[in-house]
Point group: D3
């Protein structure tokens, strides 16, 4: 179904396999999900994506669960079916309750609606919302 | 700049003005921002949008600040300039620090990147990410 | 502000000017709007776009006003500011009333909202909605 | 396939079931489509979405069939597969002929094309298209 | 799975069949892919789309392989699954190597990321990037 | 106009200034464009974005000019005004002629149109376009 075959462990290059192993260690699971197996055709892209993801999704000023919910929001707006599935699963694994999921969806839907209304109206930005008013 | 004129208080209908007044009361400010003034041409749409926004953005299983950041994420993915401005301002007013803003942007950028990679690869969804595996 | 200069009549090639003249004749106005003036750098693309637009927007099974409102809907969902402005103006010129504009925006906003909810839920398509059920 | 299980009548809460029953009555069918069954996990969101949809899609200044075609246009631009299917089916049920469907698609395609051209050219909006010229 | 049945040769009108035959001749294959079979319900739209595609994708200032990769980039950004599949296949048939595919995906991902960052920051366009500085 | 002030050299942190200096050296210009000045509020995000951009846009299996045109294509489809401007300028600086620009726009427009038609038709992917036929 993909535009490239998914690579199993025995088909991946040594560089790709090294990333698979890091994923297994960090996530404490044997399972490597399809995204990484499809990226494995380009080990440098696989490595760069994994390295950056680790940094971005680590605990910081925002909690990892909040980051996963933001990821779901962006993926939904971009219409990425795979990403909605994988990050909803990740958010759930990190503690998202059904109530939180429902509110997340409600905010996403509300934002999509008012985004559309504003775009249809072409409402100009209020001066007070600008960091550098002209 | 808009596709409709922005309505001042003196131009708005009684129904629209009633919504303006509720916005002022709830937000404890005299200022009614341009979105509501452009929506005021259709008082029923103005009323429905305001009523629903109040419910969706109220404290619940998710904190109002988290909801504003999700709103920024969706608005960014949808490319709504007005909405990015207004909800970044709202998130800041509710306590978003520069560090939180930076991490929010980093997650949005990361999600946009992997959304694009997954779509370019057409990676199939892993069975384990589905609520109803077939 | 554009990525190419807008071409005035005196700067346009003979081929581009011929399209400008057809626009003037069909629309019974001297005014040629900026879209065509920015496209005029590539007279073949200008010609192909104009020829196709004439066919697509002509009266047929759908009324030209309905077609303009559909154009506004797509342009809003795609976030094209210029197009929202120009086709809202065109729809108004063809008879769109403020009431129709308000309902158009309400449907656009509703669709954007349920599009987002469905994508967030990843709801599978009902068999009965498919032309070729498997 | 969804991120939540679809709820059958026997699994839905009383509040969700009440919405299902209203859908059955208004549409004069026993069938409740998957969108509502996936939304049923959050009865308040289900209720709010259904109440608003009824108002927005009711006959008004625009005919229900026209509203369904606008819904298809937005859903197509947003890439919502489920929504394209369900609202194409709804438009067909309300009288959309194959000729109307063909013209709808032609306008959607034309708009997508010129949206892209305008965005690539970054054409500035003509003063005359603005409700509030500066 | 489509919103219209795919038309086989025996179901297509004479006008649609004539386009199928041109596709076979130009591509030197008996195979007519599903896009054309779904468009065949509207022979005029089928004809117009085919005629334009031939012109746009022909060798010119840009090589056909480059054009296919640009097509993949746009289709990915627009989230069109069918189009990503068909144009990745076409690019491969025209000589895209795995290394080129990897770099194409890396650029698409990078662009998606910085598009999102710029939109989140609402960075104003530098004067020097404008063809018509004001 | 941005959601954060643009930082001049005297306002940027030492870490941000170091990136500005690398940009100046690599591009052989004193000018640092607004994107980097708005990102400078988060020096780690600035650094990560710059490091990755250098790698992705370097000569490889694809020529830097081709990469810039792909960047323009994605930015156009995503509706990022700033990015369309900056990468059209970069492509022009790297040798994109007006003829190439015209063909780039024509392909972008064609892809947007057929993306929309396919999505409206919900055409299923041909088995032969899949790397892993099921």
């Amino acid at each position: 179904m993909a535009t490239v075959p998914l690579l199993g462990d025995e088909e991946a290059s040594a560089d790709a396999l090294a990333v698979f192993d890091e994923i297994r260690t960090l996530r404490q699971t044997d399972y490597v999900n399809n995204f990484w197996r499809s990226l494995a055709h380009d080990p440098a892209l696989l490595r760069a994506t994994w390295e950056r993801l680790k940094v971005v999704m680590a605990p910081g000023a925002l909690d990892p669960l909040i980051k996963e919910m933001i990821y779901v929001a962006v993926s939904t707006a971009n219409g990425c079916s795979y990403c909605v599935h994988s990050h909803t699963a990740a958010a759930t694994a990190k503690g998202m309750t059904p109530e939180m999921h429902g509110e997340l969806l409600a905010v996403i839907g509300m934002a999509a609606q008012t985004n559309a209304l504003v775009t249809g109206l072409q409402t100009p930005v209020d001066d007070r919302f600008q960091a550098n008013p002209e």
